[in-house]
Amino acid sequence: MTSPFNVTRIKRDFPIFQEEMRGGKRLVFLDSGATSQKPIQVMDAEREFYSKHNAAVHRGSYYLAELASEAYEGARARVAAFLAVSTSEIIFTKSATESLNLLAVSFERSAGALGIKPGDELVVSELEHHANLLPWQQLAKRTGAVLKWFEMNPDGSLDLTKIDQIITPKCKVVAITHLSNVLGSAPDIGPIIAAAHEVGAVFVLDGCQSVPHQPIDIAALDIDFLVFSGHKALGPTGVGVLWGKAHLLDQMEPFLYGGSMIETVTMTGATWADAPKKFEAGVPNMAQAVGLAAALEYLSEVGLPKIHSWEMELTAYALQGLKEIEGVTVVGPQGIDARGGVISFVIDGLHPHDVGQVMDQYGVAVRTGHHCAWPLIRKLGLTGTTRASFYLYNEMADIDIFLESVNGARDYFRNR
């Protein structure tokens, strides 16, 4: 290993790598695109909250409630610092999926410029995960708005040639992924963001596959909303983030109604607190927010630029190796430009499920199927792919075992 990136040390923080897989094999975890593993620091942060600070936030004036509020609001401040945005612009949700549904329903309920009327247009792309397609598709169905989308090129980029027909003055919302969770391709969002703002639409970035893996400059991107999931960023399950520009959050109606999001309540009506509380009804996922803050701190300490270049080294090595295996085709971008650490491939004549099953025998965890992006898979004329996705705890040796297992899968069925 020539890289200065100390993956051996990092790996020691993740207890799961001590577990034995089927047949006593060590774990080669290449499914971080689905969910990441957790360092001990994150587990400890959650346990510390439960053991020392646990009480309902915002609702008590006793000592423990002060500690809980401090821990929870401190977590919010740390997420805000990580993204370099204002603390009051950070909303804790349960997942990126909830963040996106929150946006769609809030727009549906809001009056004014953000409200959705019949004939308004909503724009997505063929790259989208179901979580960034279905909320908009169903919003269109409910409101009489029209769903439009950018088509995908075979290399996983978006076809921007018809951008003027796709983003028109009727457009209200453009929601696009920063990085495809299937192909690893990074669409050229710059012109799309500009076109959206040109017509007065808001731009929603699905950062699920980018925020945990590379530095993001929200101001430079000039986006309006960003979503990501904690569990893909070394954080706990059960927590996601929605970031939105303050003046937009101010105009938006709530998504969930309940305690702590109100200003006044009578039996017949209610008024709402300011953001972020307006969007956080009920006793929140306090321990998970605290755990996510610890995860982001861990990522910052290792350094996202370093993590990103390490992942790209792994990706380059894996791509090279896959291309040398006869019968294997990499799907999507072939090189390492405009992509992240996610690779999809197929093996001639084999179903991804069968490929994944043999690879599992080597201790290799990869995902197979449509990866919750069925329209993309159909567009490629496939029924599924096998996908490997990398993160900071993957070693070069993982890639060697990965390649060996791909070879093994091909041979297993070929020789029988």
């Binding site: 089927r22 179903h351 898979i377 297993y412 069925f413």
Partner: protein
């Protein structure tokens, strides 16, 4: 290798040369999908004189789902509805057994080769896809299953 208990010879044979695969037709066609992986099956059949006839299926999927469809078609074709019912019930039980039972070869014939699937919970749905499609089609044909 544990894998060989999953991918038995007879399974790969059925996978490579599936039986009863064709162009489903007629009034009683069903279409089932496995939303986890996108596998699909279309299946049609006829029930005449309380007997399963003209079973034809088509679809895309992994070796397990394809082989299972082929084996199931062989097994139930020409059988009476009550016989098919017993096979279906035993096969479902076998799949959910997590490797604790072996299956009755007299009833299940080639389908006992799928016993190994039950040790791989994520694959059980692959094996059951065609059986559920068969059940659905038969019910639509008026069978009590």
């Amino acid at each position: 290798m544990e894998l060989d208990s999953l991918y038995q010879e007879v399974i790969l044979d059925h996978y490579k040369k599936p039986h009863h695969k064709g162009v489903p037709s007629g009034n009683f066609q069903v279409h089932h999908v496995n939303p986890n992986c996108g596998d699909e099956i279309t299946l049609s059949l006829k029930i005449k004189d309380d007997t399963i006839q003209d079973l034809v299926w088509n679809g895309v999927g992994c070796s397990i789902s394809q082989a299972s469809a082929s084996i199931m078609s062989d097994l139930v074709s020409g059988k009476s509805v009550p016989e098919a019912h017993i096979a279906l019930a035993q096969f479902t039980e076998l799949m959910q057994s997590k490797g604790t039972i072996k299956g009755d070869e007299d009833v299940l014939e080639d389908a006992i080769a799928l016993a190994g699937v039950s040790k791989f919970p994520a694959r059980v749905k692959c094996a059951l896809l065609s059986w559920m499609a068969f059940k659905d089609a038969a019910i639509q044909n008026g069978a009590r299953l």
